[in-house]
Symmetry: C2
Subunit: 277 residues, 2 copies
Amino acid sequence: MTLNSTHILNGFLDRDISPLDRGFAYGDGVFRTMKVVNGLPLHWPQHYQKLVADCAVIGIVCPVAEILVDDLQHLFTPNETAVAKITITRGEGERGYAVPAVTMPTRMVSKSKYPQYAPLNFTDGVQLKVCETTLSAQPKLAGIKHLNRLENVMARMEWQNDAVFDGILLDTNSNAVECTMSNIFARYGINLVTPTLNQCGVAGITRQQILNLASVLNLNVVVDFLPLSKLLNADEVIICNSLYGAFQATKINHNELTETWQPQALAGAIRAQLKHD
Amino acid sequence: MTLNSTHILNGFLDRDISPLDRGFAYGDGVFRTMKVVNGLPLHWPQHYQKLVADCAVIGIVCPVAEILVDDLQHLFTPNETAVAKITITRGEGERGYAVPAVTMPTRMVSKSKYPQYAPLNFTDGVQLKVCETTLSAQPKLAGIKHLNRLENVMARMEWQNDAVFDGILLDTNSNAVECTMSNIFARYGINLVTPTLNQCGVAGITRQQILNLASVLNLNVVVDFLPLSKLLNADEVIICNSLYGAFQATKINHNELTETWQPQALAGAIRAQLKHD
């Protein structure tokens, strides 16, 4: 039965991955993580569009939407809230970096439990820390959610304290770029600033939705460099991803210091607009 | 029978990889590629030492040598020349970058055909091209052979011409760092220069062996930045890896130009010293 399965690989329930898969060998692929409600990922059209675009950057032809929707419908029941992860790799290949003349992309759709976010995250905000691991600049891959994620892993290894919700990643010039699993915004009056992602970072679809929503929220959006020093002086800091929507960051640890903010209403307004509550 | 098997995963012949393996999810692991003669990889102690060191950089405890040797001895017969690839990943984990409290590293040992290098590579040298894809700077991961290899894949996609043996990768300051599957040396009189690898690149064991051999070859070694302009003015350019040993580069294509060199004796002398002939 499909109900207890955890993934579908190339259409087969719970099949394992070939050791020749270039996703395993080189991280040669992309992925998305989504909140599933009513049997399909929330904001599925945006996720699928981004998946296709990310595949294109590295020269992979993404499977058509119908195939992925079919996989999703086999894994998820209409009444559950869960997490879907879709991974698309270049498929199998012999040893060596050269891409085979003919490739058949691997598609994996998996189901996992929806995280239990602490109720205080919604009312009182979350705590972030500034990571020592910095992001390297690679304009050819910036913005896409590829499978080369060792920097995120290394950054995430920097804390075990459960009170820290996510870690802020800086570039080598001390600009805030994103968090390990979230994008980031800083509000100054009516200006909502989010970092430029043309050198590093992942351009998540929730980030794009917040940019699109700004006028509804009576905010001007500014996509620009966001130095850490400027971030720490924001009126309000918001992080976002496709699972929790948006949270306010009310504490940021950097070096031995902690900046704090009072809880405000913007994150809740964003969640409501994005139907994440 | 083991003779036809292509890999051993965690001790099991031809077992496939779990979709929860962090090697697949994040490229969270390292690998080595080696020439096998007489049933074991050439220069195995150096390879194993490097595997342990690379694992340590990302916080993985490498399996003991005896286990890997046992896997190798199951896969390779004493009389064949073949390629062994050993991949060590952090093992399985639930979704998310956080490393599980307890992990069991995945080890994969695989066998593939030894490449048929053209006889002219040995006598007349090889052709390189300068890639447009540049390497990003990440000092935390520089030098190690991890599974985040999308830059190499993107660079390798830049040519289909079989006459090009490998592609030179530059950093963002136009310093030559390495090739997609090789390290690189440039000789100026009695000085043998190889790029510093503290920002990017993979420090292969053949590179280290050539550094160790230099005095035997009556050369001074210099590990330093190697601007492309300087590389193109070398008396001789050598590339190396653990499969072919060393080749002289007698043609380098950059933009629309091609630099050429006469065949010389150093690459052959290195191969002889490294028992790669």
